[in-house]
C-alpha cells in the first residue's frame, strides 16, 4: 500500500499568508544591484508584519529605483508615475483612501533633483507613508551622471570629480517635519530589516535613505557610494531591535544603554545605543550630528529621528473614516433642498 507523501505546509504569517504571497516579478536590474536587496527586505518585513498585500499601494517615480516596485508584492496595487512627482500621486491616493498602506520607492535623482520640490512638501505634510530613497549617487538609466546626493569630491568612472556638496535628504526630512527618518545600507540586512518593520508600524511620513550601490556605474575606487566605501565608513548609531505589537515582550533591556520608543500600533522600537549620547527623539541634535558626520566623512546609519505622536496630514483634514473613494452618492451629492437653499441665497 502506498503511503501518501506529506509535503510540509508552507510557513505562514499571522494572517495565514506565505512569503510567496509577498513576492513580485523577476527583477530586470543588474545582478548585484543594491535595489534588489532592498526589495527582498521589503518582502520579508511585510510578510513578518502580517500586512495584507491588498492594503498596500506601491508608488514610484522614474529611474532604476522606481522600477523596483514591480519586483516585490505583486498582489499590491502599484503606480509607476512620472519623474520626481511620485509624492503628489501618493498624496492623492492617500486622500482617496486613507486606509491604504502607502509605500513609495524613489531614487536620489528622482528625489533630490527633479523631485526636490515635491519631496520637501511631502515631508512637511507628514503624510502617512513610507518613502524609500534607493540612493546610489548616480543616474543609472542614463548611464552614470552624478546625482545631487553624490558627495563632494567623489569620482565618476570616467574620472570626473563632483565639485558640489551633497544634499542630505535625511537632514532635510528631519528639518521639514518627517516623523521617522533613518539611513541604512542595502548591504546591512539586519539593520534595514528592523528599520522597515518599524516603518510599517509608524503613522506619519517615514523617510528612509538607503545607500544602495550601483554596481555598473558607481562601485569603483573614488566613489563614496560603493560597497567598499560603505563597509569602511558606515557608522551605525544603534543596534535596532523591533518588537511587533503582536509578539510577547519578554526580553529585558538596560534603560541606560537602550532607548525604547512605542510606535503608533503599539509595537516597540528598541535602539541599543552604539553612540552613547545620541538621542533619536531630538531633532536639532539629529541634524547637528548629521552635519558633523559629513565633515568626518562618516556615513551615519540607524534611526536618526523618530516622533510617533505628531499629527499626520490625514488627521489635519478632519476626514470621515470611510475612504472617500467609495462613499455612496447618498453621501456625496447633497439633497434637492440644499440646492434650493443655495439658489435662494443668490436671488
Amino acid at each position: 500500500m502506498a503511503t501518501t507523501p506529506t509535503t510540509p505546509a508552507p510557513k505562514t504569517n499571522r494572517i495565514g499568508l506565505a512569503v510567496i504571497d509577498y513576492k513580485g516579478g523577476r527583477t530586470t536590474l543588474c545582478a548585484g544591484c543594491g535595489h534588489n536587496a532592498i526589495s527582498e527586505r521589503i518582502v520579508d518585513a511585510m510578510y513578518e508584519m502580517g500586512v495584507q498585500p491588498e492594503r498596500v499601494a506601491k508608488l514610484s517615480g522614474i529611474g532604476c529605483s522606481s522600477k523596483s516596485p514591480a519586483y516585490f508584492m505583486s498582489r499590491s496595487h502599484s503606480f509607476n508615475s512620472v519623474h520626481g512627482r511620485m509624492p503628489s500621486v501618493a498624496t492623492g491616493a492617500m486622500l482617496a483612501n486613507r486606509n491604504l498602506l502607502t509605500l513609495g520607492v524613489s531614487g536620489d535623482g528622482d528625489s533630490a533633483s527633479i523631485g526636490i520640490g515635491q519631496f520637501v512638501h511631502l515631508m512637511r505634510r507628514n503624510l502617512p507613508m513610507i518613502y524609500i530613497i534607493e540612493d546610489n549617487g548616480v543616474y543609472g538609466l542614463t548611464k552614470g551622471q552624478f546625482s545631487a546626493t553624490a558627495d563632494l569630491g567623489s569620482k565618476l568612472k570616467t574620472g570626473v570629480v563632483n565639485d558640489l556638496p551633497a544634499i542630505d535628504t535625511c537632514a532635510l526630512a528631519i528639518e521639514l517635519g518627517a516623523t521617522f527618518v533613518g539611513r541604512s545600507f542595502s548591504g546591512d540586512k539586519r539593520q534595514l530589516h528592523s528599520m522597515l518593520k518599524a516603518a510599517i508600524a509608524h503613522r506619519g511620513t517615514v523617510m528612509l535613505d538607503v545607500i544602495s550601490p550601483c554596481v555598473t556605474f558607481n562601485d569603483h575606487e573614488g566613489s563614496t557610494k560603493s560597497y567598499k566605501y560603505m563597509k569602511d565608513h558606515e557608522e551605525p548609531l544603534q543596534e535596532i531591535n523591533f518588537v511587533p505589537h503582536f509578539e510577547e515582550i519578554d526580553v529585558e533591556y538596560d534603560e541606560g544603554t537602550t532607548v525604547e520608543v512605542t510606535m503608533h500600533d503599539g509595537s516597540r522600537l528598541r535602539l541599543r545605543k552604539l553612540e552613547v549620547d545620541y538621542d533619536p527623539t531630538h531633532r536639532i541634535e539629529a541634524v547637528r550630528r548629521l552635519m558633523e558626520a559629513h565633515e568626518k566623512q562618516e556615513v551615519l546609519t540607524g534611526v536618526l529621528y523618530v516622533n510617533p505622536k505628531a499629527p499626520t496630514f490625514i488627521d489635519l483634514l478632519n476626514m470621515t473614516e470611510h475612504p472617500l473613494a467609495t462613499l455612496p452618492q447618498s453621501v456625496t451629492r447633497p439633497g434637492r433642498e440644499v440646492l434650493e437653499q443655495c439658489m435662494e441665497e443668490l436671488r
Binding site: 498624496t91 482617496a96 476626514m319 473613494a325 451629492r333
Partner: protein, 612 residues
C-alpha cells in the same frame, strides 16, 4: 455751490432727445482696492431687482491696490448681456484715467465726475454732471479713514437719482451686500441717500438714459461662473480637490471650500471630501491623478500657465487611463500675458496637452448654468472614459456676475464607470486592466484596497500590454494606443451636443463657443435687422466634435468660426476633423484684445467679409 455743468444746451435740441429706456451701459472708472466692487454690485443688483436684464463686467488690473479698474453694467430690455462696445453713462472716479475715459466716449453720452476734476472743459458734445464727493462724504462719514470706501456709495445714489433707479431697491441691495454687518450697511445707505439727495437738489437731468421696471428677472439668480462651477462640483459628488492659486481660477476652489464646509460634512461633522492647497500645479495635477487612480472623484482648477505645467502629468493620466477633472479658467497668454483679462487661448494646447499622441476631452460652458451642469457631465465622462476631462471656462464667465434661471438639480446619477468590486472578481477570477472587453475601447479597472488577490494591477506610464505588464513590443504599443483612440471615438456620442439655431435655408453658418455666444446671439439679430442677413448658428459645447458639427459645415457654403484667440485654434481643430474638401469653407473671426467679445465687432467683421 456746484451746479449742473451743461455745455450742450444748444447742441441741436439734445435736451429733447427721446428717452432711452432700459438700454444702456454704465461704466464706473475707479482705482482698484478702493471698495468700488461693493458699490458696483449694489448698482447691478438694484437694476436686476427692478426686473431689468442686466450684466456686469469687471475690467481689473493684476494688482492689489492703486491701479485703474473699470466696471461696466449693461441694462438691456431685450436681454442682451454681452459687453456693449459703447459707453452711455460714465462714472469717472479715477483722476488718473478721467481725461482718457471722457475722451473715449461717443457723442451724446453722459459723464458723472468729481467736481475738482473739471472734466466738463474737455468736450462739448457730452452731458456732464459734477458731484463734490469729498464734501458729501465728510457729512455722512465721520470716520476719516472710511471715507475712501464710502465715497463710492455716493455715486450709487447719484446714478440712482439720474437714471430713475428705485432707492428702495438700492437699500435692499445694500442690505444684501453687507448682510450681517448692520453698521456698515447703514453707513453705506446714508452715503447713497446723500448722493441721491444731492442729485435731486442740484443736478438737472440732461441725458436720455433711464430705467423703468420690467418683469424679466423674476425668479432668476445672480452668480459668477466660478461659484456656479463650485456648486456644480459639490453636487457632482467631488471628493478630492487639489489646487494652486492662480487668477482667474482661485475663486472657484475658494467658493467650493465654503460650500463643502457647509453642505458636505457627515452626521458626525466629518468631511466627506479633502481639499488640499498644493505646492504648485505639478503637485495639484499629480494629486488629482493619484486620487483618481485610487477611486476618488478628483479635480483641480487652474489657468493657462497651470495647464502648461500639467502637460507631462496629463499624458500619464491619458496613458494609464486615470479619471480626473480640470477646470481651465482661461486668461490671456502666452506667458503671464494679461492675467486679469479673458481669452479662449488654451483650446488647442489643451486638446492635445502632453507629449506623444494625446487627445483630451474638452467641455465648453457658455453660461453659469452650464458651469453647474457640466460639472456633473465632466466627472461622469472622466470616470466613464477613464481619462482627464478639461472644462474650458474663461475669466469673463468665471469672475463676472451673470443672471440665470435657477440651476436644476442633477438628475443624472453619479456614474463611476467600469470598476470591478471584490464580488465581481470572485465571479470573474481575474481581469486584464487594458483589455477591450466591450468593444468601446474602455477597459475595466479595480481600485487599490480591493480585497481580492487578483485585484491588483500595475499602472505605469511606460509601455504596457493588456494585463498592464511592462512591454516594449511594437504590437502591444500600437494595439493599446489604437484602443485608447477608440475610447475617444466612443466619447463623440457621449459628450454634450452642440446648440444649433438654423432656419434650414441660409448658406452661411457661424460657429462659436463659450462666452462668445452672448455676442453672437446679439450679432445675429444685428445682421438680421441692419443688413437683412440671415446666418445659421452652431455653438460648440465639447471636443471631440459630434456628428452635428460635421453636418453643419457640410450644409453651409461658408462657415465663420468666431473665437477669442489669435490663431483660430478651434478652427484648426475643426480642420483636423472634417473632410479635407470642406476645410476651405471655414473662415476665422478671431479677437485677442482680452475684453469680452462685443456683438458690433463680430457683425462688422462678418458683414465686411460678406461684402455687405
Amino acid at each position: 455751490m456746484a451746479t449742473t455743468d451743461v455745455t450742450l444746451q444748444d447742441a441741436g435740441g439734445r435736451l429733447e432727445r427721446k428717452a432711452i429706456v432700459n438700454d444702456m451701459s454704465i461704466q464706473v472708472a475707479t482705482v482698484n482696492g478702493s471698495g468700488s466692487q461693493s458699490s458696483n454690485t449694489v448698482l447691478l443688483r438694484s437694476i436686476f431687482q427692478m426686473g431689468i436684464p442686466v450684466s456686469g463686467k469687471n475690467l481689473f488690473p493684476s494688482n492689489i491696490a492703486g491701479l485703474p479698474t473699470w466696471y461696466t453694467i449693461r441694462a438691456n430690455k431685450d436681454g442682451y448681456v454681452a459687453r456693449k462696445k459703447e459707453i452711455d453713462f460714465l462714472v469717472a472716479m479715477n483722476a488718473e484715467t478721467a481725461q482718457e475715459d471722457v475722451m473715449s466716449l461717443a457723442p451724446g453720452a453722459a459723464a458723472l465726475y468729481d467736481e475738482p476734476l473739471k472734466l466738463n472743459e474737455l468736450r462739448n458734445d457730452l452731458t456732464f454732471y459734477a458731484v463734490p464727493y469729498d464734501k458729501l462724504v465728510a457729512a455722512v462719514c465721520p470716520e476719516a479713514k472710511l471715507r475712501k470706501l464710502v465715497k463710492n456709495m455716493i455715486y450709487v445714489g447719484v446714478v440712482a437719482q439720474l437714471l430713475d433707479i428705485d432707492m428702495g431697491e438700492i437699500e435692499k441691495a445694500i442690505r444684501k451686500q453687507f448682510a450681517k454687518k448692520v453698521k456698515a450697511a447703514n453707513l453705506n445707505l446714508g452715503a447713497a441717500q446723500a448722493g441721491f439727495d444731492y442729485a435731486a437738489a442740484n443736478l438737472k437731468k440732461q441725458d436720455p438714459f433711464r430705467v423703468s421696471r420690467m418683469d424679466k428677472t423674476t425668479g432668476k439668480i445672480i452668480i459668477d461662473g466660478n461659484s456656479a462651477a463650485a456648486l456644480g462640483c459639490m453636487f457632482a459628488g467631488v471628493t478630492v480637490v487639489t489646487w494652486y492659486p492662480i487668477t482667474p481660477s482661485s475663486s472657484l476652489v475658494e467658493t467650493l471650500i465654503d460650500y463643502m464646509k457647509e453642505h458636505r460634512l457627515d452626521s458626525e461633522g466629518k468631511a466627506t471630501f479633502a481639499i488640499v492647497q498644493a505646492e504648485d500645479e505639478l503637485a495639484a495635477i499629480g494629486m488629482v491623478i493619484g486620487a483618481g487612480w485610487a477611486g476618488a472623484r478628483s479635480m483641480t482648477a487652474t489657468a493657462g500657465p497651470g495647464i502648461s505645467l500639467m502637460a507631462e502629468f496629463a499624458g500619464l493620466a491619458y496613458y494609464t487611463e486615470v479619471p480626473g477633472v480640470i477646470w481651465d479658467i482661461q486668461r490671456v497668454g502666452p506667458s503671464t500675458g494679461l492675467p486679469t483679462r479673458t481669452s479662449q487661448g488654451d483650446i488647442l494646447s489643451t486638446a492635445f496637452l502632453s507629449h506623444g499622441d494625446t487627445k483630451n476631452i474638452l467641455l465648453i460652458p457658455n453660461s453659469v448654468s452650464e458651469c453647474f451642469d457640466m460639472a456633473t457631465d465632466a466627472f461622469n465622462l472622466a470616470e466613464q472614459f477613464q481619462t482627464l476631462v478639461f472644462v474650458m471656462s474663461d475669466l469673463d464667465l468665471g469672475m463676472n456676475n451673470w443672471m440665470s434661471d435657477p440651476f436644476k438639480y442633477p438628475e443624472t446619477p453619479i456614474n463611476r464607470g467600469k470598476v470591478l468590486s471584490k464580488e465581481d472578481l470572485e465571479k470573474l477570477g481575474n481581469f486584464a486592466r487594458y483589455k477591450d472587453v466591450d468593444g468601446d475601447g474602455i477597459g475595466y479597472r479595480t481600485l487599490p484596497g480591493t480585497e481580492h488577490p487578483a485585484a491588483a494591477y500595475f499602472a505605469r506610464g511606460s509601455g504596457h500590454n493588456e494585463k498592464s505588464q511592462y512591454s516594449e513590443r511594437p504590437d502591444d504599443f500600437e494595439r493599446n494606443m489604437e484602443r485608447i483612440n477608440r475610447k475617444f471615438e466612443t466619447a463623440r456620442s457621449f459628450v454634450p451636443r452642440p446648440e444649433i439655431v438654423a432656419n434650414g435655408k441660409s448658406k452661411i453658418g457661424i460657429i462659436a463657443y463659450g462666452t462668445s455666444h452672448w455676442a453672437l446671439i446679439e450679432s445675429l439679430d444685428q445682421m438680421r435687422k441692419d443688413y437683412k442677413f440671415e446666418a445659421d448658428y452652431l455653438r460648440l459645447k465639447a471636443y471631440p466634435f459630434t456628428r452635428e458639427v460635421h453636418d453643419f459645415v457640410e450644409k453651409h457654403d461658408r462657415v465663420y468660426v468666431v473665437e477669442q484667440n489669435r490663431d483660430a485654434q478651434m478652427l484648426s481643430l475643426l480642420k483636423l476633423d472634417i473632410r479635407p474638401e470642406l476645410t476651405t469653407r471655414l473662415r476665422s473671426i478671431a479677437h485677442i484684445h482680452g475684453l469680452p467679445l462685443d456683438a458690433r465687432s463680430v457683425t462688422d467683421e462678418i458683414m465686411t467679409m460678406e461684402g455687405k
